[in-house]
Amino acid sequence: MPLLGKEVEEMSKKLLKLSMVLVVALLICYCLPKAEAAQSGSVAVKVTVTPSISVNIAETNLSFGSVAAGSTSVSTGAVTVTNDGSGVNETYSLSLGDPAGWTASQIAAGVETYILNAAFSSVASGISWDVTKHALSTTPVACIATKFNGDQTGVSVPYNGIRNLWFQFKAPTATAVTTEQNIAVTITVQAG
């Protein structure tokens, strides 16, 4: 067959294929159901869930036992503090209530003056117990990255997040009180 004839034949075959594809495509288009597009609209439901903040303190009593005047003791265990609020992050503040006859200091222990340091940490070892960072006062002080921190902090604790709170007690250098003293430590919570 002459070359021109072959080319014509090839072209005819291609045209035939193209025509068949076109016919099939047209048939598909024609046979598809002519559904009208469903119309729709929307309703905006707006709601604000006010966060509920809460903290759980597992151990409500921590005993240092009998200590000597002017001595320093670290708690034998930590208090477990859990964010059990409505889901928001929480930042803790710490404060204490002086027992009768004693006064908390944020500088040094003295006569009828004690220091109670606190730190969030998984373990007690490694806590600096620097009074400028850890000493509690009767005024609540919010945790920051460098306040009451060990290897943990009380800052932006997530929902269900657990923190371990350790204490160090520096006894008065001299005291007339010989009975058991109760120092109430308060953890207050704010969202964020």
Binding site: S42, V43, A44, V47, T48, Y159
Partner: protein, 336 residues
């Protein structure tokens, strides 16, 4: 030759002539009296396929063929229905002998009065209208041509077939023949008012049921029955669920009459979760998004009819989201 012989020959010639004329007359008479009648045939419909909207005139040209001539046609029928049946559809015919158009009634029990093509008359039943003023008829050779001007009513929605039949003056019939298909399209449309529900501030683990003052009116403003669907778009960080949980909320919906006031316990009372709205749109049924004590629901809502949509929100048991959350409830409609 004797005279009487000539006379006899003359008589024989006349008899022969008379006989030939008689035979020709006889053949002519019988050929016309016993010629075979051609059974008429239906032709075509133009357009043979397509669609139109209700209350919109559609023109169809139908042809009918009789080899004995178009004037031999007596009745030219045109039927638009799902099957060959004359009830609740367009079923009309043209009487060629009287030049009149007729339309069958809803129940297929009788014909309308006849009106001439071009006359200022509209014949109608509950499903269609035939505008005689815009309907024309013409004949040529063997073909009768009728151009019908038909308007479909909203009650006649959906896919239909088109059939023709023709009967001639000898009552010979072509029988019904399908010659096309036509769709009367439905316009789906809804309006929503209002399009918001501001719950305001709440707390975790709370259930808030929409008050009557906040109900959402959903109106079918299409041209046929509609069934509603509900879906939603979750706000960032929250997930719709059947029970509340950590960052999981529950939003339920009920379609009912405008006068109904569903209470908290009326939601999800069939299977405990049938009224819950999820991102995947769900079609309303008598149970799904249905209020047991209402006579209305979200299914097959007639055109120009309104339903009330009541929503119920259950806040997450736990959430870190303190800002306003925006849940977009999507209401759609579809053919039932």
């Amino acid at each position: 030759m004797p005279q009487f012989i000539k006379t006899i020959e003359g008589c024989r010639g006349n008899v022969l002539k008379v006989s030939l004329i008689g035979i020709l007359f006889f053949l002519s008479f019988f050929s016309s009296a016993f010629a075979a009648n051609s059974t008429p045939q239906v032709g075509t419909i133009s357009p043979s396929r397509g669609s139109s909207l209700p209350n919109q005139a559609a023109n169809f040209t139908t042809t009918y063929i009789d080899k004995d001539g178009w004037k031999n046609i007596k009745y030219a029928y045109f039927l638009i229905n799902t099957t060959v049946g004359g009830a609740k559809c367009f079923y009309g015919y043209y009487n060629q002998n009287t030049n009149k158009l007729y339309l069958r009634n809803d129940a297929n029990t009788g014909w309308s009065s006849g009106y001439a093509p071009g006359s200022s008359k509209t014949i109608q039943n509950s499903f269609v209208k035939l505008d005689c003023s815009k309907t024309t008829v013409s004949g040529s050779g063997t073909t009768l041509r009728v151009k019908w001007s038909i308007t479909f009513k909203p009650a006649f929605l959906g896919n239909k077939n088109m059939y023709l039949k023709v009967i001639d003056d000898t009552n010979a019939s072509s029988g019904w023949a399908k010659r096309g298909a036509w769709t009367i399209r439905q316009i789906l449309s809804i309006s929503i008012n209002p399009n918001f529900w501001n719950i305001g501030a709440t707390e975790v683990n709370k259930v808030i049921t929409m008050a009557q003052a906040n109900k959402i009116a959903v109106t079918n403003n299409g041209n046929g029955p509609e069934t509603l669907t509900l879906g939603l778009v979750n706000p960032s960080g929250w997930t719709a669920a059947t029970v509340v949980g950590n960052e999981k909320y529950v939003l339920s919906g009920l379609f009912c009459n405008i006068s109904d006031i569903p209470q908290q316990g009326d939601f999800n009372e069939d299977t405990s979760a049938e009224d819950v709205i999820f991102p995947q749109p769900q079609k309303a049924t008598t149970s799904i998004f249905g209020y047991r004590r209402s006579t209305a629901n979200g299914t097959a809502i007639a055109a120009n009819t309104t339903r009330a949509l009541y929503l119920q929100f259950k806040s997450p048991a736990i959430t870190s989201k303190k800002d306003e959350q925006d849940i977009s409830v999507i209401i759609s409609c579809q053919v039932p």
